[in-house]
Symmetry: C2
Subunit: 243 residues, 2 copies
Amino acid sequence: MTETVPSRRQNIADDIRTQIAAGELKAGERLPSETTLASRYGVSTSTLRSALALLQSEGLVEKTHGKGNFVGHASRRHTYAGGGRTQFEASGVDPTLRVTVRTTRLQAQGHLVPLLRVPANTELTQFLCGTSPHSLARIYIPSDLPPKSLPCGPPSCRAFGTRLAEHCPPPTEIRERLTARLPTYEEAETLRIGSTLAVLAITRVTIDATGRVIEAAHLVLPSHRADAYFITRAAPAENRREG
Amino acid sequence: MTETVPSRRQNIADDIRTQIAAGELKAGERLPSETTLASRYGVSTSTLRSALALLQSEGLVEKTHGKGNFVGHASRRHTYAGGGRTQFEASGVDPTLRVTVRTTRLQAQGHLVPLLRVPANTELTQFLCGTSPHSLARIYIPSDLPPKSLPCGPPSCRAFGTRLAEHCPPPTEIRERLTARLPTYEEAETLRIGSTLAVLAITRVTIDATGRVIEAAHLVLPSHRADAYFITRAAPAENRREG
DNA sequence: GAGTGGTCTAGACCACGAG
DNA sequence: TCGTGGTCTAGACCACTCA
């Protein structure tokens, strides 16, 4: 086992991580400015910033443009519950949570056509839900679904990564694809995160008993604030779900 | 809607992305060197590299130290199937896949104790599975599980993000937590990825009928090569799984 | 306006891959 | 050995926050 030398970025990140774990830096506390830290560690600001990026992706550090770097609040971390379980709330309520919803009508185009399994130009209702700074949701529903298919309506966007078509008719299948990637320019702007912070992107399709897609959603969760959780229970008769 | 100006990084990434989508750059093709591209776009190498980082996280570009940047092979992308579904293989077999397994015995400590729900210092068997360059798996199993609990054994590590304890006894519950973050130094080295490429980290716990944890796993999937997929089917009697 | 983080530059130097 | 990407520097300049 040849012991290799970690980069300076890693050493600095490890050092700060240790300080946080040891309680020398407390949740919510502001770190010294990046220039201060850079000179303290004897590195350039770029290197120091890349060290902070590591900690940020772990949720240990939160950056705010113009204000500073802060030790992360673990309680402000949210968990997306997969499989249609709408109960989530990791722990408590985040006072900084802001909710915005924009409803638009549009016609199915591009990737939405195969996703929703509809003919091109089918009328869709789009819900653009931002639960800043935790998530960005783009939810698409065929406009011809009966209105009562949306009993929860936009307010349920308050729930993190929420489903809009709340089982009317009840969904029989939910498919969720998760990827880690960097945010697009628009996503970074909306979520007010740096364009170097990875996000957890979830594409969710909900299908009813007739095989019809009753909802498709693109969810974007900044990695420093959110993760996803899935629980699968086996049916007693070895009748587990299969793809 | 105030139209804001994207950064240079975004413009360059968009330009190259368009070229790939248009087929001007084909899968497997080598891009010009970073210095060449940088001068062509009139930016510094750092800026150009951050543009490539965007494309890399989408799987459109693959970087290899010393060789160059290449247009990504979509077919070499792998999908982790959640919920214990071992069938996965997105499409075909990746010829570059290398599999290594290291088996170690150790005693439960730190985060492994609550994860496996065992007393501290319980004997564990660790399987370190690297299916380079696609995934890194650290799988922990209580050593006192009957040997036939491991029918598939290490070779099944060949399967991507594989489960080792292949239902003997059959698992009744699988819990999977997914986060996006930057890799640790060791992870980046093992996976041979840059330390700026985000990974999809999965912590999986498998529980048998008695409530005992029969397997815990840490999986690390580089974002440019892998994503995760979950399918949830509702039980007929509105008996959907609940957390 | 003062101080902060965000983007970007124009390099230097190192590590890796292939001939 | 040569060309490549990876790390890092020492700044400049811009955007944001707050007093």
